[in-house]
């Protein structure tokens, strides 16, 4: 069971978050201010941390940069009410691995947290990716499903690559916009859905098992099996 440290001063948000993470199968430790959080993080070993930016006693960014200076590489998801493009940049620069503005949807947070935990285990640069009978060759930029070649546009290729790297995880629309298009804001459109349905046409049409699935109210997922 992965252990998560939450550093968040708002008691209601912290309680909701703790409950949500426990339901999703995580063990949760909660600290209500920056100092307590830093002490816990140094004393104990966690698989990931969720850190609010504005905290009493010691702000979230200082907590993260202190840990990073001491060589602690635990993945960190920053939560912040400062929903501005440049705040995101400062957050990541301080050593955060991902950034989620408040208010957030729990599914979005869970999806990003899982992505962080998986990335931790990811090895060196691969040249081939595989999910079920779907295979990608990153060097020749070819895609096959069950041996049958699939012709993809460059952007569709990048989109599929992102989805396969996060196979069996929920990937949200904002994660796709950030990871595939490098758009770091929520454009409030369903424009991603069109890209997904085109990709789905190409990789799932004619196969009995639909790999690219829509996760209701959350996003999408490549299901290997």
């Amino acid at each position: 069971m992965p252990r998560i440290l939450i550093i968040e001063d708002d008691p209601e948000l912290a309680a909701n978050l703790t409950a949500g993470l426990k339901d999703a199968g995580y063990a949760v430790v909660h600290a209500a201010d920056g100092e307590a959080g830093l002490t816990l993080a140094q004393k104990d070993k966690f698989d990931a941390m969720i850190v609010d930016r504005m905290l009493p006693k010691c702000d979230g960014l200082s907590v993260i940069s202190t840990l990073r200076q001491k060589g602690d590489q635990t993945p960190v998801l920053i939560l912040s009410a400062l929903d501005q493009v440049d705040d995101r940049v400062t957050g990541l620069r301080a050593g955060g691995d991902d950034y989620l503005p408040k208010p957030y949807a729990l599914v979005e947070l869970l999806a990003r947290l899982e992505a962080l935990l998986r990335r931790k285990g990811a090895g060196a640069a691969e040249t081939r990716l595989r999910a079920g009978d779907l295979e990608m060759d990153l060097l020749t930029r070819t895609v096959t499903r069950a041996g049958k070649e699939i012709d993809l546009q460059p952007r569709e290729f990048t989109l599929l690559e992102y989805l396969i790297r996060h196979a069996d995880q929920v990937v949200t629309r904002t994660m796709l916009l950030e990871g595939v298009w490098d758009f770091h804001f929520d454009p409030q459109t369903n424009v991603i859905d069109v890209h997904i349905s085109r990709l789905r046409q190409k990789i799932d049409k004619g196969f009995p098992h639909a790999m690219l699935q829509t996760v209701r109210g959350a996003g999408y997922m490549i299901k290997a099996n």
């Binding site: 501005q84 493009v85 298009w181 804001f185 424009v191 069109v194 890209h195």
Partner: protein, 455 residues
């Protein structure tokens, strides 16, 4: 009559005039002092010189012809009508008068070769004398003196004049300072009272302009134009707040009634799930409105300027075109991209992407047939990125209004959106010092024109 208010004496004008009075008084005393030493002092010195010369003359006579000759000379001087203010007295070694025009050796003359000052009564008057004594070789003592009353009178007149002058200066200075301060205070009071009225909420009040064109008028004019701008801003904020309240009330009411329905527990699980799902989507819309407002505030705040970097407008256009092409094609529209790389401007990539995305999103949303064209062009000093569509367009008279926050030309507000998209584009353009131009013959064309040296 002057109404003496203690407030007046605390004004800086009054303090300033007091300081001037002080400086003026000190310099006047200095001038008068100089005049005194140059005139009265000089007169006394000249008197002393005359007395000394006379004494020297008389001693020379003595040396030439002895005591006899000296007495003759003095005798002649005394007889002379021109004796004027001169006094002579020759006494023997026992201070008994031998010859002279004063009766007694003055008690102040205790030793020989000595300057002295004494007073002698002559008739009804008192004479102030300045005199020099000398001892003769035969033991006699000689006194030669002169009436210095005119010089003394002149001196005292001078001192009196100086004192009067100082007193008048002080009085005039204080009165003038008082009057000036009162005048200043009166005009400042008008401004203060005006400011107080404005603080109490009367934003339409204006500072009175007397018409003299002086510094107070200029101040009042500046304050008035500042008030004009503040009033305009407050009105626009008020309009935004009202619109915001209106826009948020209906979805919140819908959320509330739907949740109440769910609370009654009627309907099957699938139906309840559907209601909750709908409620979440509606609250997402509300959050989106706030996010848009925050983005506008961010662009208007100008802090984003710190993160501007040189970037190629064509690459930005490519990214957005790439994102929207499938959507446009699904709608049966052609999404065309014209231009080429090289239009490099200093810009905030994410904000610029957002602005362009809003424009393209609008174009795709409102165009039912035809095409959407994104074009990038540049010359040495301008770079232009434009989005044109073949949709219904915006009537020229409505073009300025679409930039106001929350204005949607669709008055019934049936289409999706929070009415903030174009306001955000305008704020982002302003942040980049770029101009936002609406045009288009068939359909709408929106141009963002950057004016900077294109690298």
């Amino acid at each position: 009559m002057l109404h003496l208010s203690p407030r007046l004496f605390r004004t800086s004008t009054f303090r300033l005039s007091l300081l001037y009075v002080l400086i003026f008084g000190v310099s006047m005393i200095a001038v008068l002092g100089f005049v005194y030493f140059a005139t009265a002092g000089n007169m006394l010195r000249i008197t002393d010189e005359s007395i000394q010369r006379e004494m020297d003359d008389l001693q020379t006579e003595y040396h030439r012809g002895g005591a006899r000759r000296l007495q003759n000379v003095i005798q002649a001087r005394l007889k002379d009508d021109q004796v004027g203010g001169w006094v002579y007295l020759l006494v023997d070694n026992a201070y008994r008068p031998v010859l002279g025009n004063i009766p007694d050796w003055p008690v102040e003359a205790t030793e020989a070769d000595h300057w002295l000052r004494f007073v002698i009564p002559r008739g009804a008057h008192q004479y102030t004398m300045r005199a020099l004594t000398a001892s003769m070789p035969n033991g006699q003592l000689l006194l030669v003196g002169m009436d210095i009353r005119p010089a003394e009178k002149f001196t005292s007149t001078m001192i009196q004049a100086a004192l009067w002058g100082a007193a008048i200066t002080l009085a005039l200075g204080i009165c003038g300072g008082y009057l000036m301060s009162r005048n200043m205070l009166r005009r400042l009071d008008v401004l203060n009272r005006g400011a107080e009225r404005i603080m109490r909420g009367n934003l339409s009040h204006r500072m009175p302009v007397v018409g003299s064109g002086d510094e107070f008028d200029r101040l009042a004019e500046t304050l008035n134009s500042m008030l004009q701008e503040i009033e305009r801003l407050v009105a626009s904020i008020r309009a935004v707040t009202t619109n915001l309240a209106h826009d948020l009330r209906s979805p919140l009411t819908r959320i509330k009634s739907r949740l109440e329905l769910v609370l009654t527990g009627r309907g099957d699980a699938e139906q309840l799930r559907h209601e909750i799902d709908y409620t979440i989507r509606e609250s997402d819309q509300l959050l989106a409105t706030f996010n848009a407002l925050l983005s506008i505030a961010e662009a208007e705040g100008g802090a984003a300027r710190a993160n501007m970097k040189p970037l190629d407008l064509f690459e930005v256009a490519e990214d957005v075109a790439d994102l929207y092409r499938p959507m446009a094609e699904d709608k049966g529209l052609n999404l065309e991209l014209h231009g080429e790389g090289g239009a490099v401007v200093t810009a905030h990539r994410q904000l610029l992407l957002q602005a362009l995305l809003n424009l393209v999103d609008n174009a795709v949303k409102y165009t039912d047939a035809g095409r959407v064209t994104i074009a990038v062009s540049h010359d040495a000093h301008h770079a232009v990125i434009s989005v044109a569509d073949t949709g219904p367009g915006i009537a020229p008279e409505d073009r300025a209004r679409v930039l106001e926050q929350f204005v949607r030309l669709d008055l019934a507000r049936t289409t999706r959106g929070n009415g903030l998209g174009l306001s955000l584009v305008a704020a982002i353009a302003r942040l980049h010092g770029a101009e936002l131009v609406f045009g288009g013959e068939n359909g709408l064309e929106v141009k963002i024109i950057f004016t900077q040296k294109i690298i």
